[in-house]
């Protein structure tokens, strides 16, 4: 589904040019649960921004299904992004003044749906993440775990083909982290949702079927390839 070939990425800062990603080659198939691990500054967030169609400033080729993403403009991106990707962020990134239901409904509203067409879908995904009856709450009155569930509900409301999660448990305690991980695993198993997550937490990474390790912008290990190598 996702095929990255020889991806290189540079950041320009004044006269300096940082080479953030070195010749990344990565393929992800439908239904995988992938963890990308690595130190801070290793380039893993940069990588998933590219995978999630947020960043188009890279060299190399990226085929998403049959779309040559490396040739697309930002405008074509937003459409693809809206239809295909759901994002979950470390610090939830919910709109504080909007209710839970409004936050969850946002992606659908941007596809041009009417508010009353989407009420049922919003309720359904809130049930799915275990937040039945929380529609009219404000995010700021909820716990971190609950807010992350809202964020996950928002990510999956539009039936995306894959989820990008940037340190989804980074701001949560161990117990809540486990609850969120269980939710991800259930989504992956029951709904077949492809999930690519970045994490620091070895416990979280251990629960993923595939772990990709990045150091200084290079893929140094990929459990899938190790697995292949074993055969």
């Amino acid at each position: 589904m996702i095929k990255l070939t020889n991806i290189n990425k540079y950041y320009r800062q004044g006269d300096h040019r940082f080479h953030v990603l070195h010749d990344i080659n990565l393929s992800v198939d439908q239904g995988e649960l992938v963890a990308i691990i690595g130190e801070s500054g290793s380039g893993k967030s940069t990588l998933i921004n590219i995978i999630g169609f947020l960043d188009d400033d890279f060299s190399g080729t990226y085929f998403y299904e049959d779309h040559p993403i490396h040739d697309y403009t930002r405008k074509q991106f937003s459409h693809l992004q809206n239809q295909n990707v759901g994002f979950v962020f470390q610090n939830f990134k919910l709109i504080r003044e909007a209710t839970v239901a409004e936050n969850v409904a946002l992606p659908l509203l941007y596809t041009g749906k009417r508010r009353r067409e989407i009420g049922d879908r919003v309720t359904a995904v809130l049930d799915q993440v275990g937040l039945h009856g929380y529609e009219d709450q404000l995010p700021q009155n909820m716990s971190g775990g609950q807010q992350q569930r809202v964020s996950i509900a928002r990510a999956i409301v539009g039936h995306p083909h894959f989820l990008i999660a940037d340190e989804p448990t980074g701001a949560l305690d161990t117990e809540t982290s486990q609850e969120i991980m269980n939710l991800f695993k259930r989504l992956n198993r029951d709904e077949g949702t492809t999930i690519i997550m970045v994490t620091h937490d070895p416990h979280v990474a251990a629960q993923c079927e595939r772990v990709v390790k990045i150091i200084d912008g290079r893929v140094v290990s990929d459990s899938l390839e190790v697995h292949h190598a074993d055969k």
Binding site: S45, N49, L54, D55, R74, K75, S78, H79, Q81, N82, Q83, F87, F89, K93, L94, I95, E97, A98, L106, P107, L109, Y110, T111, G112, R114, R115, R154, G158, D166
Partner: protein
């Protein structure tokens, strides 16, 4: 994203910052309110002038008058006779509904003989018994006296005292005006020559005479003023001008004087164009206030954009296009200014209605100025405020749309 959703989002974020939103729109409110007040009162004054002096356009028909001025002031020649009427009717019958000789009835300057004394006096002519005068001696002219054509008259008290010592003494004396000699049957208290609203007061004259006796024979069928009546919508001024031109050539007394048509409407047009110059000037000043208010809106929108960077990032990340983001902030700016504009419109309309009566009473003279708020004024308030929102909102909105998502999320 649907427009209804855009509006909802915009209104919600404006409500989240009620105080700031309100302060931002005060400038717009004041600017629009000032223009609406001035326009309302200016239009009101113009309207009053038209109602009072215009060609009576209000009553479904228009009337104009053509005067005849003899070259020799003392000449007794009449400018219009029945032949002229018939000629005008033949020439312009299609365009003029009615033409008739207008006899002056109020404060006519003439010479009168009181006994053996000859004086310049003013006389007013009556068709019905006068009720609006205060009697000093004798009795009022009665309907019966008028109907039977008796040569009776009333005299004002100051003249009576001057000529005969007391009002009582004046009763029974005679006054000769033109060819008719009238007997004084009543004396009335003096009144001002002009009425409260600036028109002539016919009871301010020295004598009150029955009209039917004053105009008889030749004088009844001729005169120095004609009144033309037009149907609504015809170009009264233009046709009247043509009639005057025709009369200058073919009028019965064309060689002894001149026929003049005074276009009140034209003067009114001048007046209203002067009013519109004043209005434009004040609008210009208001435009400066709107400009400053617009800069305020721009400032507020820039602050809002930088405060809500996170929100912009979230929206972009869940699938909003940069265009969606730009529209959201633009709609917010326009919603702000249009709200200000509508509040300003209401304030201005209210202020105009408050000021108009004050203005009327300070002018006095029974002139009633009503504030005149037009649909055009409403559309102007709406359009201007929306335009201010668009013009001053576009740059902040574009800045919001061009934010780099990666930088926000990092």
């Amino acid at each position: 994203m649907r427009i209804s959703e855009l509006l909802r989002t915009a209104l919600r974020s404006l409500r989240a910052n009620k105080k700031r939103s309100f302060l931002t729109i005060i400038g717009i409110m004041i600017g629009i309110a000032a223009v609406i007040t001035i326009l309302g009162i200016g239009d009101g004054i113009t309207q009053t002038m038209y109602d009072k002096f215009g060609n009576n356009a209000k009553q479904g028909q228009q009337t104009t008058e053509i005067y005849y001025m003899p070259d020799n002031e003392n000449s007794t020649v009449s400018g219009f006779n029945q032949q002229d009427m018939a000629n005008i009717d033949n020439q312009f019958g299609g365009e003029i509904r009615r033409v008739r000789i207008e006899h002056e009835t109020a404060n006519i300057n003439t010479r009168a003989d009181l006994g053996d004394v000859s004086k310049n006096v003013t006389v007013s002519l009556l068709r019905a018994a006068p009720t609006d005068v205060k009697l000093v001696a004798g009795h009022r002219l009665t309907a019966n006296e008028m109907a039977t054509g008796q040569a009776v008259a009333m005299m004002k008290s100051s003249l009576a005292r001057h000529q005969y010592g007391t009002a009582q003494n004046a009763l029974g004396t005679t006054v000769t005006v033109g060819a008719t000699t009238y007997q004084i049957v009543g004396v009335y208290q003096d009144q001002a020559e002009y009425s409260m609203d600036g028109g002539q007061n016919k009871f301010g004259a020295s004598f009150l005479l029955p009209k039917d006796l004053y105009y008889q024979g030749d004088t009844a069928s001729s005169g120095n003023t004609i009144k033309l009546t037009f149907d609504q919508g015809s170009n009264a001024g233009q046709i009247s001008k043509q009639v005057a031109k025709y009369l200058k050539k073919n009028g019965s007394a064309a060689n002894q004087g001149s026929y003049q048509y005074e276009d009140m409407e034209k003067e009114l047009k001048q007046f209203s164009s002067q009013m519109s110059i004043i209005t434009k000037f004040i609008s210009f000043i208001a435009a400066i206030s709107l400009f400053i208010a617009g800069i305020g809106v721009m400032n507020m929108m820039y602050i809002s954009v930088s405060e809500r960077t996170q929100e912009i990032g979230i929206r972009l990340a869940v699938g909003a296009t940069p265009f969606n983001i730009m529209m959201q902030f633009l709609v917010e700016a326009v919603a702000l200014t249009v709200t200000g504009g509508l509040l300003g419109f209401l304030g201005g309309a209210g202020l105009a209605h408050l000021i108009a009566p004050l203005l009327s009473s300070s002018i006095g003279g029974g002139i009633h100025i009503h504030a005149h708020i037009t649909m055009t004024a409403f559309l102007m308030a709406f359009g201007t405020s929306a335009a201010v929102g668009l013009i001053f909102g576009i740059l902040p909105a574009r800045q919001a749309a061009n934010k780099n998502l990666i930088d926000i999320l990092r």
